[in-house]
């Protein structure tokens, strides 16, 4: 039997651990600078133009073949509906996009805000999904595969915008439902989503995300009295494909302004990257320690046996 050198063993395992940690650090750094696919598309939503006509909701319902709504799309009483805790309407399995009304006292007229999946550059839903049902396409859409989805609802908790909805109406095979930016029927053919095209006021501008950011800043520059100097979604949670311009501060029209600029992924990836390392190295390492620790005893019992 070849002699087992404890010092060498410890040295080797330490060096391996450091190398693994270093490679994790490097990956984390590279992922931080990911700003989405270079030519991915996006939508710039100008809230100052929205009149709350709900045509986008109607167009979405038709395009996605969603079930009939509870009230017609020209029924404006939905703006007075509230969920538990006085919260405004949210996306559901029947509606991938909703418009809400915000009454701002200092503003003469109400502000309407359309909302749907923001199609993050680095989506939290995708990160959280353990069956890999989610995909971020190069066109910018965040897609999910209903065939793979097991209905665990982790993405609903992970999403910083509370977008994914659940098909509670289907007890046998409930799955996640959300806006897919009309990827199947429009986006992959270079066409704008149905809501964008249907909007009478052209509240939404469809184009390359990088162009929309420039356009948004130009708009702010030319009409500083009409806009807050910020494009919501340019940097929030690492950037989103859907971005917003507003005249009133964003927090007053239902936007969470405390999300930070880090993608949700970056809060968990250091830990998640360690998991496979721990699973591979620790068993070997501790088996080694165990063998070393019990080596003397094993030899003793062997000697005793041979003496006998």
């Amino acid at each position: 039997m070849k002699k087992f050198d404890r010092r060498k063993f410890l040295k080797g395992s330490l060096a391996g651990g450091v190398a693994a940690a270093a490679s994790v650090g490097h990956e984390a750094k590279a992922a931080h600078t990911f700003e989405g696919y270079p030519d991915s598309m996006g939508v710039l939503v100008d809230l100052t133009k929205c009149i709350g006509c709900r045509t986008c909701e109607a167009a979405c319902n038709k395009e996605q073949g969603l079930p009939a709504p509870d009230k017609p799309f020209d029924d404006m009483s939905v703006f007075d509906e509230h969920r538990h805790g006085g919260l405004k309407r949210r996306t559901s399995e029947k509606a991938y996009t909703v418009v809400n009304r915000y009454d701002i006292p200092e503003q003469g007229e109400p502000v309407y805000r359309k909302f749907q999946c923001n199609h993050c550059n680095e989506p939290a839903c995708l990160t959280s999904c353990f069956v890999n049902a989610y995909t971020k396409t190069k066109e910018g859409a965040v897609m999910y595969n209903p065939k793979v989805c097991v209905g665990c609802r982790t993405c609903m908790i992970a999403c910083p915008f509370y977008v994914p909805a659940y098909s509670y109406s289907s007890p046998i095979n409930p799955i996640i439902k959300k806006c897919i930016m009309c990827y199947d029927t429009r986006l992959k053919f270079g066409k704008a989503p149905a809501c964008v095209e249907a909007c009478p006021q052209e509240v939404m501008t469809f184009g390359k995300r990088k162009d929309l950011i420039k356009m948004g800043h130009e708009k702010i520059k030319f009409k500083p009295e009409d806009y807050v100097d910020h494009i919501y979604g340019e940097h929030e949670v690492g950037g989103t494909a859907w971005m917003y311009l507003s005249k009133v501060p964003f927090e007053k029209v239902g936007f969470d302004t405390h999300l930070g600029t880090q993608p949700v992924l970056s809060y968990v990836k250091d830990f998640l990257a360690i998991v496979p390392m721990v699973l591979c190295i620790w068993p070997a390492l501790f088996t080694g320690f165990h063998l070393l620790a019990t080596r003397k005893e094993a030899r003793k019992t062997e000697q005793q046996k041979s003496e006998e």
Binding site: K49, I51, C53, T55, A58, A59, N61, K62, A68, P69, D70, K71, P72, F73, D74, D75, E81, R83, R89, R90, S92, K94, A95, V98, E109, A165, Y166, Y168, F189, G190, K191, A192, V196, E197, C199, P200, Q201, E202, T205, F206, G207, K208, D211, M215, E218, K219, F222
Partner: protein, 176 residues
């Protein structure tokens, strides 16, 4: 060659006379304009042009026509380049504002034109509604969708309204 000169003079006079009523007509604009390019979910709009001109005054064409009819400009931003531009070839909305604003072809076109300033020019539908509704809000004119255009059957179907309205139910879609 007096004969040829005569011919040219004749043609010039003819052209001058022929263009007179046209010019006058152009200065006034048409009485009504039927906006039908985009009609699908709503019937075409019969826009009472002369009524709007009367209301705003003859010199206010640029309120809607930006810089295309040769009258004094209204928007300070337009003046930066178009102050002395004069009349343009066409004053029709749809000759500048594309009906298919977000088609792949149009997006490629604006991307290829590196000298294009008006990259964010609204499409035809956006231009109509932003212009009309912007003024209508300010002047307390009607702002409801069906105040200006009646919805078609296809429109009722899209909005799930009228005969396509859903059965009233107790539960709401947003309970969760």
């Amino acid at each position: 060659m007096p004969k040829k000169l005569k011919k040219i003079c004749g043609a010039a006079v003819f052209l001058l006379i022929a263009s007179l009523p046209l010019q006058q007509c152009f200065a006034q604009g048409p009485d009504t304009v039927v906006l039908e390019t985009l009609a699908q979910y709503y019937d075409p709009v019969e826009f009472d042009h002369v009524m709007h001109v009367d209301m705003l005054g003859e010199d206010s064409c640029a309120t809607c026509h930006h810089h295309s009819v040769g009258t004094p400009l209204v928007d300070e931003n337009c003046k930066r380049c178009h102050e002395y531009g004069g009349e343009t070839e066409s004053a029709n909305c749809e000759d500048c504002h594309p009906a298919q604003r977000f088609s792949a072809d149009y997006l490629a076109e604006i991307e290829a034109d590196i000298h294009l300033y008006h990259e964010d020019k609204p499409g035809l539908k956006g231009a109509f509604h932003q212009k009309c509704l912007g003024c209508h809000k300010e002047m307390d004119a009607p702002v409801g969708c069906q105040d200006c255009h009646t919805r078609t059957d296809a429109g009722d179907k899209l909005f799930r309204s009228g005969k396509y309205a859903p059965e009233p139910s107790e539960s709401t879609a947003h309970a969760h």
